[in-house]
């Protein structure tokens, strides 16, 4: 609740009088007889109205002035004789908070609104206008927030099916060290967009990056296939490279066959497969020497995430 109040407070400074005021105000002329006022107030269901001479605001006449006139014996006179001449006005470019401050200070419920440059009457503002304006603005903000949230994470929720799986494929160019990481980067953005928890996204991205670098370093290229489901992410990296002769050995932390140029780049320390295992919930590595390697890993999405 506290946050909402802050938002409203923010809005009364942000919204301008001109944004929320009522335009096309009913006005009366100063030379109109008092007797005609009742009909105007009644037909328009208003409790007061600005008095305008040509373009110029000269006063305000309210139902109170009218009652006083009745009590004083309904002597024939023009509105200009009974109107309030000293009028508190606001400019259309002032923030709404000024209306509230003025309303408190003077005890008035309504203020004519002038355009600053021309001093012409452009509207009238009441507390009702402000409330309506605030609600409208909040509604617009809320709607934008809803769209934003929708874009971020409702893609899975929108698909009506017993089982939903999104599949994306990426090509990995072998030996292209400079571009290395592009696939993991694209995947990371995609998973984020699908609304997976940041921890899940990071684990998937790190594991995919390691897998991608392995394909780049050791093979002529390959493919990464990602199957995203609401409860799990499954990633498969396939290559047609040389294959791993001893998988058990390859899994040992620190074991590496990486050439020097790779090590100089900060990779090839023999930690990749271990890290993929650490980041995932299940990892399967299959390889045939001379044919290629297939690395698969799955990240499960727990309820807490």
């Amino acid at each position: 609740m506290k946050e909402k109040i802050t938002k409203v407070q923010e809005l009364v400074y942000e919204l301008k009088v001109g944004d929320v005021m009522t335009q096309g105000v009913i006005t009366v002329k100063p030379d109109m007889p008092m007797g005609e006022l009742r009909e105007i107030l009644r037909t328009h269901r208003i409790s007061g109205t600005p008095v305008v001479n040509g373009d110029k605001l000269v006063g305000v006449i309210s139902i109170e002035d009218f009652i006083k006139w009745l009590a004083d014996g309904m002597k024939d006179c023009t509105i200009s004789k009974r109107m309030t001449k000293k009028v508190e006005t606001l400019y259309s470019d002032e923030p709404v908070i000024h209306v509230l401050q003025k309303a408190e200070r003077f005890g008035f419920g309504r203020f004519p609104v002038l355009e600053r440059k021309t001093q012409k009457l452009v509207g009238i503002i009441t507390k009702g206008d402000i409330i309506e304006g605030l609600l409208k603005k909040l509604e617009i903000d809320y709607h934008e927030e809803e769209i934003h949230r929708y874009r971020a994470s409702h893609i899975f929720g929108d698909i009506v099916a017993d089982k939903t799986t999104l599949v994306f494929k990426y090509h990995i160019n072998g030996k292209d060290f400079e571009k290395g990481g592009g696939v993991a980067s694209a995947l990371k953005r995609t998973l984020k967009r699908l609304g997976f928890h940041p921890d899940i996204v990071r684990r998937a991205a790190i594991a995919a990056f390691e897998a991608e670098m392995n394909v780049i370093i050791y093979t002529e290229g390959g493919e990464m296939t990602v199957r995203a489901e609401p409860r799990k992410i499954h990633i498969k990296a396939d290559d047609s490279g040389p294959g791993i002769p001893d998988i058990e050995k390859a899994m040992q932390p620190g074991f590496s066959t990486a050439p020097d140029w790779v090590r100089e780049m900060g990779f090839g320390a023999g930690m990749g497969l271990n890290n993929i295992k650490k980041c995932s919930d299940k990892m399967i590595l299959n390889s045939i020497v001379g044919k290629g390697t297939c690395l698969e890993f799955t990240i499960n999405i727990e309820d807490k995430q």
Partner: protein, 116 residues
């Protein structure tokens, strides 16, 4: 600790991402081995390294690091800087060596990334 303060401690020069100077860093890691960074680095942290290739930036991107500081006055190439800008990662360079940089930050009591 705010990156702004780290910049002062390391007397570092900003390469890109100066709009991120107000971000908070929870931990620091120092490595030239990207595999280590990928294994141990935590989100919202700073990496000190002597490596300047694009893979360092990629590594930081994957691990959700906030900033990288290159030691010994090294500067990455244009591609790496562009990548960092795209990934919203702040890059610094300091004239201090890895050892001195680590010592200066350690003295300030910033925790190590792998021991959090």
């Amino acid at each position: 600790m705010k990156l702004k303060k780290i910049k002062d401690i390391l007397e570092a020069e900003i390469i890109c991402g100066s709009d991120l100077l107000d971000k908070e860093i929870k931990t620091v890691s120092a490595a030239d081995l990207m595999s280590d960074v990928l294994t141990f680095a935590r989100p919202d942290s700073l990496l000190l390294t002597g490596l300047t290739n694009s893979q360092v930036i990629r590594t930081a991107e994957m691990s959700d690091l906030t900033a990288i500081c290159f030691v010994r006055g090294k500067k990455p190439n244009k591609d790496a800087v562009e990548l960092a800008m795209k990934s919203e990662i702040l890059l610094f360079t300091t004239k201090f060596s890895m050892y001195v940089s680590c010592g200066k930050l350690y003295k300030e009591g910033i925790p190590n990334s792998s021991e959090r």
